[in-house]
């Protein structure tokens, strides 16, 4: 459904903006656990950057940036990171997601920071992957959408 359009200005601006968006996204992710922001927002920003590419460059060319097939794996990996963190904490004697039990040899406070950070990263990945795959599925042409 997306019509690819030849427009140099849009192309260039996109090329310039996308890295900044993504860097800001990473900033939001990595400071999420002690200041406003966090995994979801960061992931949404990352996804937004990809959407920008999709919209402006059109589907085919933007695939070089982020391939359709990557959407679900990103989501899976993200959730696995999240669930894995919880499980590790549980395996090492805590409750599910009880970060201070994470085996980093850190005192509870820092272990907790790290744990939350891990979770944030996982969330970011998941949100990004899933938002992108939703977008791709909806914008897919006849047949492609039916596959999944």
């Amino acid at each position: 459904m997306i019509r690819r359009q030849e427009n140099v200005i849009l192309d260039v601006i996109t090329r310039i903006m996308v890295p900044f968006i993504q860097i800001f996204a990473f900033y939001v992710i990595f400071h999420g656990h002690y200041s406003p922001g966090g995994g979801f927002q960061g992931g949404a920003l990352l996804a937004g950057s990809v959407f920008l590419q999709r919209v402006v460059m059109g589907r085919e060319r933007s695939l070089s940036g982020f391939h359709v097939k990557l959407g679900v794996p990103f989501g899976v990996i993200g959730i696995l990171v999240y669930g894995g963190t919880g499980l590790v904490a549980q395996v090492f004697g805590g409750n599910y997601l009880q970060y201070e039990w994470l085996p980093f040899g850190l005192d509870p406070v820092w272990a907790r920071n790290t744990g939350i950070l891990l979770v944030e990263i996982g969330v970011a990945f998941a949100v990004m992957g899933i938002l992108i795959s939703i977008y791709d599925n909806l914008s897919a042409r006849e047949g492609e959408g039916e596959k999944r």
Partner: protein, 128 residues
Amino acid sequence: MNDIFTTLIAERWAYLLTVVMIIIGLHAMMMKRNLVKKLIGMNIFQGAIILLFIVHAYKFGASVPVHDAVLGDHPEAYMNPIPHGLMLTAIVVSVATTGVALALLTLIYRRFGTIDEIELLQKLREEP
């Protein structure tokens, strides 16, 4: 009686806003023929509820709910973080729901060539 309304409008106007949004959303969900408009109505409805929580959690002149040396330990200096967290989740949920709904709509459109409810019902009646 009168002063109740004045206070309501003066201090609780945000709640009135949520009520208005809820009514708009419901109307769209029930009355609109176009399925996409129904979906939009649904989102407005959810937005209204999210707003309800946020309005309740908001404090004038309070800061983000992250401990800050300058502000010290006064609870009134910080907003209530829980509703914000909750509503973040609610937003995620509504995004997911919207995604599924849009997927369904594209599927419907591909199969029946319309997303107008009346026409769809006609098509349903015609087909076995």
